[in-house]
Symmetry: C2
Subunit: 221 residues, 2 copies
């Protein structure tokens, strides 16, 4: 059809979708301001429920703030390990503790992505599903992820933190909520497969297990 | 840096990010199965918290199911209009009722995207933010949106529905939750700006109002 892209352009788009990775290993090189600006503009092109544009980004340039964020993440990493130990077993807890789950102190740029305050004023598309604002910000973050990969920049989305505690550190107003710590940086190499697969933590399930027709069908967990 | 894409490939990726639109107007042309498959594979390349892969897609090929979904959306559209009337005013309610918010009966393919069941078993990255599974599925949906735009296919994400009611219609098990009705189809033209801007419902705020440094700063709502 006439609105489709050239085969070469389509190939580039499918390629970046397939090659994007959640990165935890970074080189200490800085990211040029104009590249960071392009990535944030890509985020701002995201769809949003009722044109709410609920995304806010806090760029962390102060190394003390970066260290304080890292300390919060480290605390939650330990709490998660304990929870995995209780829910699964101690071997699994030990395996988790060996995983690298973030590159906060190494990455070139650190962003905190948050939901805005005053969200209750937005009813359009959120009356029965208020968490649609998180969906919109997630689409914005995916845009950054893809654009970053094309720029040769890796990104990791860290969710090991306690939102009220991080909100307090960043002086966020009531109603606003941090949902992602985004590590951005150049990398030695992009993982060929998701790092959790490469590290033997988990295997991927195929797409066929995710698809159903007209009604729910159990296809194994 | 060496991992970056060619300028032409980068341009294609930024172009599709900028040209993607939330579509409500569709042509009745079918979508070829191999294109739908590519779009679903794009979704399946999404990042997911702890490699949880929480996305499930129900393809609606039965026209009776499609009509039943449409009826649920129409009911919620009216409920939303009333809520807007109460929260804002009756003029705004009337303006909302004039907006086209979905193309469920016209689009070539209809998908329901859901969160899987048994989500409580996944602790990795979700101990303090359980809604991270929604974030992952949203990234998968954004992948479909971008790939579809490259294929010349429009997509609309409809969130006007009551999740328990739609779950019941689709025989979903406890714990699973529908989060999107996705309308996919060829279009006469893609909106130049978001439809809610073109229709005068709302104006967009600039990126500069979304950016802060090291701490929250009030930049107007």
């Amino acid at each position: 059809m006439s609105h489709s892209y050239s085969d070469q352009d389509k190939a580039a788009i499918y390629k970046v979708i397939a090659e994007r990775r959640d990165m935890r290993h970074f080189l200490p090189a800085p990211i040029a301001p104009e590249i960071l600006q392009r990535l944030l503009e890509a985020a701002h092109h995201a769809p949003s429920v009722g044109l709410m544009q609920p995304w806010r980004f806090i760029r962390v340039s102060d190394s003390n703030v970066r260290k304080a964020i890292h300390a919060q993440v480290e605390e939650e990493r330990v709490n998660t390990a304990k929870a995995i130990g209780e829910y699964e077993n101690t071997a699994r807890m030990a395996a988790f503790m060996k995983l690298k789950v973030e590159g906060i102190l190494d990455c070139g740029e650190l962003l905190v992505a948050t939901l805005c305050d005053h969200r209750e004023e937005h009813i359009f598309g959120r009356r029965t599903i208020p968490e649609m604002d998180l969906a919109s910000v997630s689409c914005a973050i995916q845009n950054i992820w893809l654009a970053a990969r094309a720029e040769g920049v890796g990104m990791g989305w860290v969710s090991f933190f306690d939102p009220p505690k991080l909100a307090n550190l960043l002086n966020m107003p009531e109603g606003a909520k941090p949902i992602a710590i985004l590590c951005l940086g150049y990398v030695n190499s992009f993982y060929k497969s998701p790092m959790l697969v490469e590290e033997g933590w988990k295997t991927e399930k195929p797409l066929s297990e995710m698809l159903m027709e007209n009604t729910w069908q159990d296809k194994g967990k």
